[in-house]
């Protein structure tokens, strides 16, 4: 463990490189934004929609990889947190029809939900934590049917949306909204985990006792990690509500939560690139599975092939690159992971 930063006086060169390093996230996000805008003008509408979906997924995978990869907490309930964000936005939109405040509110509500779950989660370890978050994921349909006057049971709610301003095609507009959310998430997370909070996260993940001895509040750090990650999931859920203009429990099943975990593991835990690869896979693999099933001529296969596909890819990637796709060539540099 060498998480302690060098305390010796920094030379001018070091200070300069540090300052540049601090700018890197901003530069990368700006570059990302430019690429996305160029893409949205060149892609056909359906690809734009898929691009928007990748952006919406990136919000939640980036948050989840901070929680699981950097803080070592496993959550199987992020689908439920996404549902919280999505339903908040749907109810808000149907009453007030103001998108931006609605998205902010969705993030806030999900943050509160995340804090509650995080409070419980900080007391639990390993399989017990997985069990708790699993229960959260499972309970969504029951909540929507118990309070069916508000959530309209299995049928769900539709989301009122203003058409995009001017003559912008809907899919392009959606891609902009989703990627604005995704890039903002990435930027905030990059600065968060690049600073003291990030060191605390890793310290708690690697050795709780050592972290405590070093003066890091273990429970507080774990709750904070959950809260941050929940906020990202809430944003992602709200964006999905914008994308599909409807929310229903069927859109946030248990399998979604499992897919999210699989995606960040395949992509590479604890890395932004891993979260990005994961988000891309979440869109590309099901659609690849579908076209394969189509070519094979069995349409009954379509719904099930994506699951198989994900499983096979997971096994292959874990055999070839245990650190995930993002670590493919940097494997030698990867530290040995503990606990």
């Amino acid at each position: 463990m060498t998480i302690v930063e060098p305390v010796t006086t920094k030379t001018k060169n070091q200070q300069k490189s540090l300052r540049i390093a601090k700018l890197v996230p901003l530069l990368v996000v700006t570059a990302g934004a430019i690429i996305v805008v160029v893409l949205t003008y060149t892609l056909p509408p359906f690809r734009n929609y898929q691009l928007a979906t990748i952006g919406a997924y990136l919000c939640v995978t980036a948050g989840l990889t901070v929680l699981t990869g950097l803080n070592g907490q496993l959550s199987l309930g992020h689908g439920a947190l996404m549902a919280t964000g999505a339903y908040t936005l749907a109810i808000w939109q149907n009453k007030f029809d103001l998108l931006l405040p609605g998205i902010v509110l969705a993030v806030l509500v999900t943050t509160v939900a995340g804090a509650v779950i995080g409070l419980a989660a900080a007391r639990l370890r390993g399989p017990y934590l997985a069990g708790l978050t699993l229960a959260v994921a499972v309970v969504v349909p029951s909540i929507t049917s118990t309070f069916d006057r508000t959530f309209n049971s299995d049928q769900g709610l539709s989301v009122a949306l203003e058409p995009p301003p001017g003559t912008i095609p809907v899919e392009q507009w959606q891609a902009w909204i989703c990627w604005a959310g995704a890039l903002l998430t990435v930027l905030v997370l990059a600065y968060l985990v690049g600073g003291r909070f990030g060191r605390d996260l890793r310290a708690v993940r690697d050795d709780e006792t050592a972290a405590k001895l070093a003066g890091v509040g273990v429970a507080r750090t774990q709750i904070m990690a959950f809260v941050v990650s929940a906020a990202c999931a809430g944003l992602s859920g709200a964006l999905f509500a914008v994308l599909s203009q409807s929310v229903s429990p069927g859109a946030f099943p248990l399998s979604l939560s499992l897919f999210l975990v699989m995606a960040i593991v395949i992509g590479g835990l604890g890395r932004l690139t891993g979260a990005l690869i994961g988000a891309v896979l979440l869109v590309v693999l099901p659609s690849a599975a579908q076209s394969i099933a189509e070519k094979a001529g069995s349409q009954h296969l379509e719904g099930n092939l994506a699951l198989t596909f994900f499983g096979v890819v997971l096994v292959l990637v874990m055999l070839a690159a245990p650190g995930g796709l993002a670590s493919w060539k940097a494997r030698r540099k990867l530290p040995t992971q503990k606990g």
């Binding site: 463990m1 060498t2 998480i3 930063e5 390093a21 890197v24 990368v28 570059a31 990302g32 690429i35 893409l39 060149t42 509408p45 359906f46 690809r47 929609y49 979906t53 901070v66 950097l70 349909p141 049917s145 069916d148 309209n152 049971s153 299995d154 049928q155 769900g156 539709s158 949306l161 058409p163 809907v170 997370l189 990059a190 985990v193 690049g194 990030g198 890793r202 690697d206 999905f240 994308l243 599909s244 203009q245 409807s246 229903s248 429990p249 069927g250 859109a251 604890g270 932004l272 690139t273 990005l276 891309v280 099901p286 579908q290 349409q299 009954h300 379509e302 719904g303 993002a326 540099k333």
Partner: protein
């Protein structure tokens, strides 16, 4: 752990480069696919239509909770189109029917319908199945001006000509059905205590609205959700309320479950079941050894019954089923699928040789189609709902048999009236001509 790996989330040249690589790969992949999708464009101005072909699409639950029974519908529709194509097509155009699996999950429906409309550039969406699934794509289809014909559900949502000018239903709407079932109950079981169990969505609510329009408030009402396969409490409440008649607005699995659960607790009311949850073959299969409980169950229908060998429509459908559907098990789902295909071909014929999207919706709106249905369709400029009514059936010896005459009504306060028009017979070659 080294300092650099601490910062591996973001900093360190390698990860930066990797992010760039991933983005570049994305760009490349997107560029490639862009080229592919452009090459599929048609020469005509109308998407999905060329001089010798029409491409239409659909979303169907081929897997998932609603797949049982319902997954047979689209293959049957396709089989009917193949039959039409083998006989020269419509105005020289062959119909390609591309249906994708959405697993009855609204999120997947969004995905596949966008693929059909934006990527495959279908001419129209036909018979998209399910209330919760299809509700989510209404706005999208409207924005893209895609005709949205003959939705496979009886929700009143499809019937909003002002809001969704391109959307048309197929099934009689659930309020119409509720009124017809209730009228039969009022007449046959006068003075009995009537209770209602409905699915906890538009299906159950619309149906209950229809029932209460005729009967007034029911003695007891309960709901169920598809994700919780237990109706013990509901049946217990009905037993405690001493219900004589129980009306079910349920899908087949829950019809069987309700009848079985009631029998288990020694509760034997008269069951009256919605059309969509009453296919005898599906119920018999689900109940297994308890199938005799189905004897005397009352339901309703609006298409010929699969067991009616003397009906010319069934004879036609059986022929098509043998030749073009791989001789699939012949049940009411197959009858339904082929009837959808027949109605769509009628609409195409009426739209004329110079096919556009506006002409197709105008043709449907003009209405006047006569086909396999016992009652006419209601299509007009003010009304986009499907079939106008139903006829009561009773299960005898595991088979549905017709009772009385067909009835029609509206979804408001109109009276339930007997329909006396004669049933149409299929044309000689089984393919409708322009009317």
């Amino acid at each position: 752990m080294s300092l650099q790996s601490c910062q591996g989330w973001w900093r360190g040249g390698r990860t930066g480069k990797r992010t760039a690589t991933v983005l570049a790969a994305l760009l490349l992949a997107a560029g490639c696919s862009n080229g592919n999708s452009n090459s599929g464009g048609s020469s005509s101005n109308t998407p999905g239509v060329t001089d010798n072909s029409i491409l239409i699409g659909s979303h169907q639950p081929l897997t998932g909770p609603a797949a049982a029974g319902y997954s047979e519908i689209a293959p049957a529709t396709k089989a009917y189109f193949d039959y039409v194509n083998a006989n020269g097509g419509i105005h020289g155009r062959k119909i390609t029917y591309k249906y994708l699996d959405d697993g009855y999950n609204p999120a997947n429906t969004q995905q596949v319908v966008r693929q059909l409309v934006l990527q495959d550039k279908v001419f129209a969406i036909l018979n998209g199945l399910g209330t919760p699934t299809h509700t989510g794509v209404l706005d999208f289809l409207k924005t893209n001006r895609v005709p949205d014909l003959f939705v496979a559900s009886g929700s009143r949502t499809w019937n909003q000509p002002d809001k969704y000018p391109g959307t048309f239903g197929f099934n009689p709407d659930y309020t119409v059905e509720g009124k017809i079932l209730a009228a039969y109950v009022k007449q046959t079981y006068a003075g009995k205590k009537v209770c209602f169990l409905g699915q906890d969505d538009d299906f159950g609510r619309d149906s209950l609205a229809g029932v209460e329009k005729v009967l007034g408030p029911v003695a007891a009402k309960q709901t169920y959700v598809v994700t919780n396969p237990n109706v013990g409490p509901q049946m217990g409440a009905f037993k405690a309320a001493a219900c004589d008649v129980v009306i079910l607005a349920s899908i087949p699995g829950f019809t069987a479950l309700s009848i079985g659960t009631a029998a288990k607790i020694g509760f034997k009311p008269q069951f009256v079941v919605s059309n969509v949850g009453s296919d005898p073959r599906t119920l018999t299969k689900t109940l297994g050894a308890a199938a005799p409980l189905l004897e005397g169950v009352v339901a309703a229908g609006y298409l010929p019954l699969d067991t009616d060998e003397s009906n010319p429509w069934i004879q036609l459908y059986k022929k098509v089923n043998t030749q073009y559907n791989g001789n699939a098990a012949f049940d009411n789902n197959v009858v339904y699928g082929m009837s959808v295909g027949y109605l769509f071909v009628q609409a195409l014929q009426a739209a004329g040789k110079d096919l556009t999207r506006d002409k197709l919706t105008a043709a449907v709106q003009k209405g006047g189609f006569t086909g396999p249905g016992l009652v006419p369709t209601r299509f007009s400029a003010q009304d986009h709902s499907g079939y106008a009514g139903e006829q009561i059936t009773k299960l005898v010896g595991g088979k549905a048999t017709w009772v009385g005459t067909p009835y029609t009504t509206d979804d408001a306060d109109g009276a339930v009236t007997a329909y006396t028009g004669a049933a149409a017979t299929p044309p000689q070659n089984g393919i409708p001509t322009a009317q």
